[in-house]
Amino acid sequence: MQIDILFITLMLLSSAAFFIGRQRASKIVQGQIQSLHSLPSFYGFFAAIWSGLPAILLLAAWVVFEPAIITNIVIANLPEHITSLGQSHVNLVVNDIHNLTLGNLTATEPSAEIIAAADQYKSLQATSHMLLTIFSLLLVFGFGLVSVRKIHPQLRARNVVEQVIKVFLFLCACIAILSTLGIVMSVLFESIRFFKMIPIDDFLFGLTWSPQTAMREDQVGSSGAFGAIPLFTGTLLISFIAMMVAVPVGLMSAIYLSEYASTKVRGIAKPLLEVLAGIPTVVYGFFAALTVAPLLRGAGISLGLDIASESALAAGLVMGIMIIPLVSSLSDDVINAVPQAMRDGAYGLGATKSETIRKVIFPAALPGIVGGILLAVSRALGETMIVVMAAGLAANLTANPLDAVTTVTVQIVTLLTGDQEFDSAKTLAAFALGLVLFVITLLLNVIALRVVRKYREQYE
């Protein structure tokens, strides 16, 4: 039986066990549900889990290990003159066998041995699937029968089911954590490879960034320089400009919305503000590159300033606009979380609205606001699309917002787009940049979350 059909069959059988278990539970007590330890549906789930879970686990294990085992058997049966050619040749042959079994074209015209091996592979696979079908059906029926038999009024079905659910939830949590760990590890290991080629202090403290390395031994020029300082200053410059826009505007709009606006205005303005958050960053990107940058350049010319058409200013301004809703909605939340009692206390002492906001609400909400701003900063540092489109590639080491700068994310994109070889310093540099950026944003997030948490404790 096909694996997918088998899976569906197992699920159907397991659902059948649910109904059987539930029915049996209520039958045993002649409808007197209160004399059961758990509700009848728990007995149903109990039966379903017992009948389904072992078979599904078997199926999963089988699917994972079956190809490797069959391949090994096939290799062991290959004639001497093929296996003696070494591991890499055997791998090629195995590839051909796999292709043949799947009915794909092979690289070369297959020899008789390989065709025979492919046939063997197919037959082994068929046998294995048959065995799997038999075993899993046996498991379903066996465990299903046992579990249905086990149902009696004192059986603590609810506890068992809840335990299984707990394990399942734990596994889901593990997937999130493990995948994060996996990503970090892969970036880390590639970065270590990079740091074997380029010393880490050259990377962290070098002042020139020019990642073009020689493709061939005899190529001239392009020795490559991997000093990341210009990238980080560029990133910081753009993020700084963005925060200069986003923090005041976001914060003040939050104060207006939470303290001054009438319910009606708030009902309209808040969703409108949040529309900003829904605009794809690529749209912000071409808005920055095609509208804001030329506008700034034109304004610069009329003022006698030389503004690069890919200036940090344009990218930063637009990024700031993008971050406004983030700052404003986070600040709005913390301002609203300041208890009404604080406002009453201040008003009761004769404070005006602005005094109440400046002297009571804002200080009380400040830790939360700072946390929100730090989250916004890490968003700005990691933002890619706007800077790819608006900030350019020139790795200038400058603090002048009118110049063109580049950022870490832009360089990662350029290093990794197109055809790349994964053993050159140029490509691996992307991982090192990613690692440093990750560490910075991680630190910011940790600090932000701590600040926010500390704030939360204050009123509870």
Binding site: A341, M342, G345, A346, G350, A351
Partner: protein, 297 residues
Amino acid sequence: MNVEQETGQKEMELNPAQTKEAMDLQSKTPKVDRENRETVGDVRVDDPRMRCTDINVHYGDKHAIKGLNLDVGKKEILSMIGPSGCGKSTFLRCLNRMNDTIDSCRVTGTIEMDGVDINGKSIDVVPLRASVGMVFQKPNPFPKSIRENILFGPRIHGLATDKDDLEEIVVNSLKKAGLWDEVKDRLDQPGTGLSGGQQQRLCIARTIAVEPEIILMDEPCSALDPISTAAIEELMLELSESYSICIVTHSMQQAARVSNRTAYFHLGDLIEVGTTDQVFNAPLHQLTEDYITGRFG
């Protein structure tokens, strides 16, 4: 109404058993009928600090206070009792216009303070609230130091700028609130770190610091333990030597212990006003009697 008979019962103590006895006695004297919602008793006093005339309060469609007349005398403690939702807190919040902060709330009628209408166009709410201070149900110190909590009011009203003057306000207010001995060594620690009773006395000290004429207290002891409650009640009696105090309370014992006059509210109507002795020992209205004897509420 037979006044002689009621004054005869005046010395009666307020303990449950005796109240029951009193009730049996009283039930022989005719009471104002439950259906009658006209205020009984003297709503007016000579030389009032505040005089409220025909107050109506609406929250949206809800008529929370219906045609209320009441005076607050000088240097007296006026307690307001009544079942939840009867409008006593709402009335209290009218006295310093705290209801202004609630959008749907509408207040009509005149509230005069020393003869001036506090809802008048020329009246600014800021000095009004400085002279009519308010203490809330839940202690609400600002998340600042004890000193800064006290100085919040004086600073915003510019009562003092000199450092020594400010310090004097801190010391005096805390002393008046009976908190000085407990906190004098930790004025720079956060006010939120004090115990509930201390926090409430800090809030009272904060209110005193702006030198109000009237202090409004909205169930100031409902979140406190009996010892803190006793401390605050004692404090109220001391403060009443210089201020008028209006207190909303759910504890009839508290009302009986501290107040000079008592007002009983019922579903937005002011039912009965009188001296505390008279209201508790010889209520004139059947609803008041029902409430204080525990038959209702």
